[in-house]
Symmetry: C2
Subunit: 524 residues, 2 copies
């Protein structure tokens, strides 16, 4: 058995089921090992941004890491921006990055680069294997490091000789090691007691309280616990702006999301004197702007962390519910609503949202990278059938289509809806080919406004003046992108919709379609 | 005047004419400044790999850097793999990377990352501006650092506040500073004398000599000087495997290229007892393989460096020619040949090569990322009309289409032919949109063999066994990519050719076409 086979065995023994890959020569032994060791499904992406983004989407839905297989430093570099997104979403990801044989590195062949240095900014853990014998334990350690609560990016660099050399010790280690916390720490009784007293004082003084949820607290159980606290304290429960996995729709507690536009966010947060964060950061601006603050809450507000990302936030909410003696309260759950459909012919993102909300399949997964076009669909789906809502957490555009791809691999029985802006879609359109190859149930809705529309808003925010050159950097209409042609070119059935009726018909076809489908919704 | 305007003024004053860009909010002041300061043409790429690869192609043809404009750490990350290629090609590139306002970084907003750390592995120089006042000199310094012989990657990080703050000192610095060498150092007389004596001894002992050229020595003057030496010493002149800019075809000295496949390279180099390198490394394997050496020349061969990349190699060749007293020799120049065109209908890469060679426009620029399909076209164009031949120097696939884009921007009066494998083409297909927008004269020939064909060869070389999973990672035919549809979707006219006649007709149309054109050549 060679090192690569022992690594694959270790990954499989430790529960890894999927490998998103774009291998090259230095990874051939790893790939060959997949034919020797059953249990690891290998899925090809035609650019590494698809590979790493799909691993993000997969792990968000399964709660456990997929492995990515990347070709040396440049292959890793191509996947970095979606690893950045994964890192900001606290998603567990294990990267296996091929490297030259150790003796070959000094010869500085064309592909030689400092892989550890490339990996470091987007990884919580980086390790270069030094021998075939160390690969089984290296793989186990990478999984453990990735699985460390709440989820981390672990990068194992695999020199080719360690992959092809024979292994002397065939033992396979278990991934979990004693000093790695796979669950969040429980916040202390004292901390809960302190928080109880803060809330009681605030209530007594009629000071407005916001509870900002992030991470796993945005799943149904956390939302219900937070709602009990909110009912008792007259608090407002808010969701952080970018959510890794947000459970919403009918039967869920509906909470307000902190908006991206800075003025709207500052206005929303202006009444609060207390900001209680639970697995979330105190709200800050996505960007800095001249003459606007970096923090979005009032200067005189107090920020209280109930639980950090490294704590078990749901348990902390549970403990606080008990401390406040409100366990018996009934969470206020969203009822399903049917929206009146637009009667005008003109299609816009709000019409798309209404038509989608009325047809959203039960238990759908919505991946939202619609950016400026997302406001309508976000609002109308709040009362649609229950669904999971996944966003791009690191602000690096191009996450949407790969995340949708990975989520569909994770949950083949569920329908994935990818709300996708056209500008960001162009960053990772190769995802469509993987969706076609794997026949994934992904309905991509492209909001084709032929622009980086958000930059037009931001130009005002940063007080920059816009001339011809500046506007030219924000317009994608010269030439206009034809998403139907591009999707067809990658084997994905596609239709264009320019009116409400066309979109309604296309959506019905898409939802009934076996496999991926793309709708180019032409919107203003 | 704000900092961004002073930076743009400095760039323009120091000779920068083109900015390849994908800006975001943090770069809005830079973009707005382009409307205030004339002289910097701004070209949008829909993914940063297009932006950095185009800057590589542009600078290879003009000899001076373009500026890239990239959006924070993830935008830079997306461009890293083509910066790796530029670095390995010794191409001058100046990156301007937007960053949060300095006061905003501590708030760890979603896009926050360690930009210096992301830049470092692919940059020779990295600097973060600390104030608006430092931007004019920072821009000048970045240009000087990039222009340091033979060409470097310089990254200037631009915090948003330094872009929007007002400048107190409006002086614009010149780029060249005293301690930066813009031309290569001249190798010493003693070194030339030593090399002369080595060559004379080798000749006396009838030991075979190879002269390996790289860098600027592969332009016509260097080739002619090397040929004079070769005539005198009965030496063989070789080109390094991956060439940034290789001048070849009719009227040029024709030299042999060291092939990529390791067995062929070892065989070619086996007769030589002396390897004289001129701006090239002594040949090493692209990858390591089990039971094969890392160095490609015989163990008993002596390697002599006439000039390193940091020296003026053409001057060194000139000095050696004089020392050997062979200046009066006439270089042996390639005659133009017309090839007999295939009579069979079946299209393959050799037929494409012959048809192209017979029609290659005078002074064309050929960008070769055809990989396994490149052998035929390389051979047949050796005696075609004079042309420049550009390759991807860092082994990171996806360089071809962006380099072709940048070369076409640099040389609007010349025809660019991009020989492009399909697998690597999918890495940066967004380039086509930029070609359409700028109406660039690029004829892209996609060798559509629906596979990562090179990996099939490499699987044997690394002695890995191939099963179903492994082969699945090398086949792109499920589904088959439709390049005509994808190109059309990005506004580029395209035709598919499945026979020799179809290809001949398509090529004639493409060469006569105003603007970009893509031919999908379906080959085995």
């Amino acid at each position: 058995m060679n090192g690569a086979t022992s690594l694959v065995k270790s990954l499989v023994a430790n529960g890894v089921e999927v490998c998103f890959a774009n291998p090259g020569t230095s990874e051939m032994h790893f790939v060959a090992a997949l034919d020797q060791v059953p249990g690891l499904r290998c899925i090809l992406g035609l650019h590494e941004t698809v590979v790493t983004g799909a691993a993000d989407g997969y792990a968000r839905m399964t709660g456990k890491p997929a492995v990515t297989l990347l070709h040396t430093g440049p292959g890793l570099a191509n996947g970095l921006s979606n690893l950045h997104n994964a890192r900001k979403a606290w998603t567990p990801v294990v990267n296996v990055v091929g490297e030259h044989a150790l003796s070959h590195i000094e010869h500085d062949a064309p592909l030689t680069s400092d892989i550890q240095a490339i990996a470091a900014p987007m990884s919580h853990w980086v390790h270069t294997s030094q021998s075939a014998d160390s690969l089984a334990s290296g793989g186990a350690e990478a999984i453990a490091q990735a699985s460390r609560h709440p989820g981390h990016v672990a990068t194992l660099i695999l020199p080719a000789n360690t992959a092809w050399d024979e292994v002397l010790d065939e033992a396979v280690n278990p991934a979990a090691t004693a000093d790695i916390a796979l669950t969040g720490s429980r916040v202390s009784n004292e901390h809960i007691k302190g928080m109880t007293s803060i809330l009681q004082k605030a209530m007594a003084s009629h000071e407005a309280i916001a509870i900002v949820l992030g991470g796993h607290c945005l799943h149904a159980p956390g939302l219900e616990l937070a709602d009990k606290i909110a009912q008792h304290c007259s608090a407002t429960v808010l969701a952080e702006t970018f959510k890794a996995r947000f459970q919403r729709g009918a039967g869920r507690v509906s909470i307000v999301e902190i908006p991206y536009p800075i003025d709207a966010a500052i206005k929303m947060l202006s009444p609060f004197k207390h900001i209680v964060t639970v697995c979330a950061k105190a709200p800050v601006g996505f960007f800095a702007y001249p003459d606007k603050p970096s923090t979005l809450y009032p200067d005189d507000a107090q920020v209280h962390s109930l639980a950090s990302m490294h704590d078990d936030g749901v348990q902390a909410l549970h403990d606080l519910v008990n401390a406040l003696k409100v366990a018996e309260l009934t969470p206020r759950l969203q009822e399903q609503q049917t929206h009146e459909e637009p009667t005008e012919a003109a299609l816009d993102s709000h019409a798309v949202g209404v038509l989608l909300a009325n047809r959203l399949p039960e238990n759908a997964i919505v991946v939202d990278e619609a950016i400026t076009s997302g406001i309508g669909p976000t609002n109308s789906t709040a009362s649609a059938a229950a669904h999971d809502w996944l966003e791009v957490c690191g602000g690096s555009i191009g996450g949407g289509m790969p995340i949708a791809t990975g989520a569909a691999v994770a949950c083949p029985e569920r329908c994935v809806i990818n709300l996708q802006a056209d500008g960001s879609g162009m960053y990772s359109l190769q995802s469509l080919w993987t969706q076609a190859r794997e026949n994934l149930k992904v309905v991509t809705i492209i909001f084709a406004n032929s622009s980086y529309a958000i930059l037009k808003h931001e130009l005002d925010n940063v007080q920059a003046t816009s001339g011809r050159v500046a506007l030219d950097m924000m317009e994608l209409d010269r030439p206009t992108l034809d998403w139907v042609a591009m999707a067809s070119g990658m084997g994905v059935t596609a239709q264009r919709a320019t009116t409400v009726d066309e979109f309604r018909r296309a959506l019905d076809v898409a939802l009934a379609h076996d496999g991926p489908f793309l709708i180019e919704a032409v919107v203003p």
